[in-house]
């Protein structure tokens, strides 16, 4: 019952925040080097297993696309079961099985109700240890992957991202399309896939993470049973080539027919994931363009109405990384939007952030942190990423205190160190006829009909 009228002008005062701890988990290493992780959670009768080989498209060499092709072929038949038999078995149990890769790792994931899990684990082990790489399945997947590339090229952000990566990563493998190209995909043969598989899928670069309603001892036992005789050693022969910032601003436009918006990606080379100032850099980016209330989104969306949304981020990878601002704006707003992005990046370098902004961003990041630990699967992803990127084990335990320790000076230091507005690559997927002239104010403009 309302006894007195509520005074809505008074903002209530929050209570004391509750402590957040990163949950503990079980970990063991088998004699052959397989790293087993178990995050037990009995709330729901579901178990998942994630298999992660710490090798991905970075090791493609000249045959780029091969890591992605090899990883997707795993579920397309084993020495004893056809692709269709695998799919039927998994689907029948209401389970899930998929495989793929990114630049730094290859993933095979499965999950099912607890009552079916051991069957699903069994079939997943088989696809990892005894893939068939059958010719007819290679040809079928080849055509699908080529068609996927064709359809990606209908999307402005794909075009912008491709020309951007090509021009900032230069000789690093991160400059190449992970999915490959039509001509490379057409040239790949069964023995190429087998070679990639034999070189990169090794027990000593394999993590198996179990999540859900399973005992630690049973999980280890399952791995021993299926993977105990898996042997070999992973040798990393790839040297990260010299990386360098581009000397000046330059504009690249890839033509997207009929575009009414420009997909923009503006940025430059930054640094790899495992650096000491990762946290201050993340805090700085959250303020700059990493949330809805960030300066870049506020400027481009809420003040200027140029876009439905704009964001910036550090794309940190294992051996390198980049910083970029991304957005989609109406054709006539393309150059004005780039100007505003550069204005905000420069401001971040030239002025200290205010106390209010700094407090607010810290509260935002630490307050949102529990939501990132909501499900055991989300926790497993975090543990796995620590391992892929060789990050210290207590990273998440110390996350909140490290965020809270960031100072205005730290923010300015990382802005000075990692932001280079005078050297940005301005990549656009869009309509050159309507934007090219306007974009010349930023530097040389090159227009392409297509991009690899």
């Amino acid at each position: 019952m309302i006894t007195e009228k509520l005074d809505r002008s008074k903002k209530p005062i929050p209570g004391a925040p509750r402590d957040v701890k990163f949950p503990g988990y079980f970990e063991a290493t088998l004699p052959n080097g397989i790293n087993v992780i178990v995050i037990k959670d009995e709330k729901f009768p579901i178990v998942s297993a994630r298999f992660v080989f710490k090798a991905g498209s970075f090791f493609d060499g000249e045959k780029y696309g091969i890591s992605s092709f090899t990883s997707e072929m795993l579920t397309k038949g084993t020495q004893s079961r056809s692709a269709l038999e695998i799919a039927e078995l998994v689907d029948y149990h209401g389970a899930f099985l998929s495989s793929g890769c990114d630049f730094d790792a290859t993933f095979v994931s499965c999950y099912s109700l607890k009552k079916y899990f051991e069957k699903i684990f069994d079939i997943t082990s088989e696809v990892i240890l005894r893939p068939a790489f059958a010719e007819d399945e290679i040809n079928r997947l080849r055509e699908q992957k080529i068609n996927s590339i064709i359809s990606y090229k209908d999307e402005g952000d794909y075009l912008a991202s491709r020309i951007y990566k090509k021009n900032i990563y230069h000789k690093l493998p991160y400059s190449k399309p992970l999915e490959g190209t039509e001509s490379i995909l057409n040239s790949l043969q069964k023995n190429d896939l087998e070679n990639f598989y034999n070189t990169n899928y090794k027990p000593d670069n394999l993590i198996i993470a179990f999540v859900g309603d399973i005992d630690e001892a049973r999980a280890v036992q399952l791995v021993e049973e299926k993977f105990g005789s898996f042997t070999g050693e992973f040798v990393n022969n790839t040297v990260a080539e010299d990386e360098h910032l581009n000397p000046e601003k330059k504009v690249y436009i890839v033509k997207k027919s009929g575009a009414v918006q420009s997909s923009l990606k503006v940025g430059h080379l930054a640094f790899k994931r495992n650096i000491p100032d990762y946290i201050p850099a993340s805090v700085m980016n959250t303020l700059l363009g990493g949330s809805f209330t960030s300066r870049i989104n506020k400027n481009l969306r809420e003040v200027n109405g140029f876009t439905y949304g704009a964001r910036s981020f550090f794309d940190w990878k294992k051996y390198s990384g980049d910083f970029a601002v991304e957005t989609e704006v109406g054709n006539s707003f393309t150059a004005p939007a780039v100007k505003e992005m550069l204005f905000e990046i420069n401001k971040m370098k030239n002025e200290f952030v205010s106390d209010e902004e700094l407090t607010s961003v810290k509260n935002y990041l630490t307050g949102n942190f529990p939501l990132q630990l909501e499900t055991p699967n989300a926790i497993a992803s975090k543990v796995i990423s620590l391992k892929i990127y060789d990050i210290e084990k207590d990273y998440y335990n110390t996350y909140i205190s490290k965020v809270n320790a960031v100072t205005k000076q730290d923010i300015n230091d990382v802005a000075m160190k990692y932001l280079h507005p005078e050297k940005v690559t301005i990549a656009v997927g869009g309509n050159p006829d309507e934007i090219q002239k306007d974009m010349m104010q930023f530097g040389d403009v090159e227009v392409f009909d297509d991009v690899e």
């Binding site: 019952m1 925040p17 957040v20 209401g94 699908q144 996927s148 009414v260 918006q261 307050g367 909501e374």
Partner: protein, 437 residues
Amino acid sequence: MPKNLNIKPNIIRYKSEDFPRVAQKALAIEEMTMANGMRAVFYKTDNIPSVCINVTYHVGSKDDEERSGMAHLFEHLMFEGSPNIPHGEFDAILHDLGGDSNAYTSWDVTSYYITIPSNSLEVALWLDSDRLAGFAVTSEMLEIQKDVITEERKFVFDNTPYGSVEEESNLRLFKNSGYRNSILGNMSILRKFNINDIKDHFEKYYAPNNAVIALAGSFDMEEAKALVEKYYGGIPVGKPFTRREFSEYDIVEEIKDTVYDNIQLPAKFIFYRVPAEGTKDYYALQILSSILSKGESSLLNKKLVYDLTLANEVDTSVTGMEQTSIFGINAISLKGRNLDIIGTAIDEILDEIQNGNIKEELIEKVKNNIETRTALRKSSIVTLAEKLSFDKLIFDDANRINTEIYCFLSITKKDIIEAANKYLKKNQRVVLDYLPK
């Protein structure tokens, strides 16, 4: 005259005793109704020290009438400011507390959520309730959001491959009801709205008796109920209004059209009007949809993607709505394949089903999958809060989070065959071929 169909859809309900095979624990839901008619649902889980607040209003794009795009525009404006929250401060205050927020508009509802650390629950309720308690939109806020939506429309509709398909199909499926409305709206109409138009919408639909609030997460139950009462209980009841009754013309002949888009791979889209969400036929068709396209061994995937290599991807869906639903099939072709051959292959599979040729094991397989999906869905407070408020608002039954699974599990082979024969008729459908410009 259009015919009245399913004005009050016949919603099916089940009890857990009928289905001993499902070993999922029921979530303990608490509810209350305040004096002003606003309903509240609570689910406490102490997994993480956060709460999600979802407030869903019973107004969507189907209620737009001549004000095209109004429900969605209003959703944007709800973040811009309210009597005690200055322009631009809503999200800033939330972020400052470690919270976040978002919203969506469908044809039936406009739904808002906030996530917040538990210690700031009261501040979040204060923030959210202020925008229901009073109107403070200015023309400055309105004009900027018109610009933002102009870009949103370009982004999701004009500049995205096949992005126009939802609007193109709904215009053909629905001739009379508000389900033909574009959610983003017609920009030339939306551009002309003034503050009074916005205020009308607010006064008519943004009333406590037209909304449900749900809290899911870590909180003290009695304290949370008292806080909801404190911030929402005193908001005055809205004026009564009558919603336009749902009526539609029957589709008696296949509607077939070609749309030219900035794409390289031709695609075929097929749509049927089917019964409302919550009806028995809706669940039968949901299961059929999974039989057709869920997993690599599903019927359409196996035939079109795997055996005949005609399509690069195939999918089906049942878009559930309050007074009707849409059954959709889409197939994006592989380069060089013929859309007519793809259409014939799809029809062959549908004919088989209509003739009664479905293996029981295919139904069993979908039911296994639904058990897995249902369990996974309960692990996110954002998803939970959204489902609790939606189900309470539309079905007056928040406990569907626990019981809806039985609606699926009760479906038999006979139900599926009957629904397929009744609703997936060739002469009742819309077929759109998307071709490169």
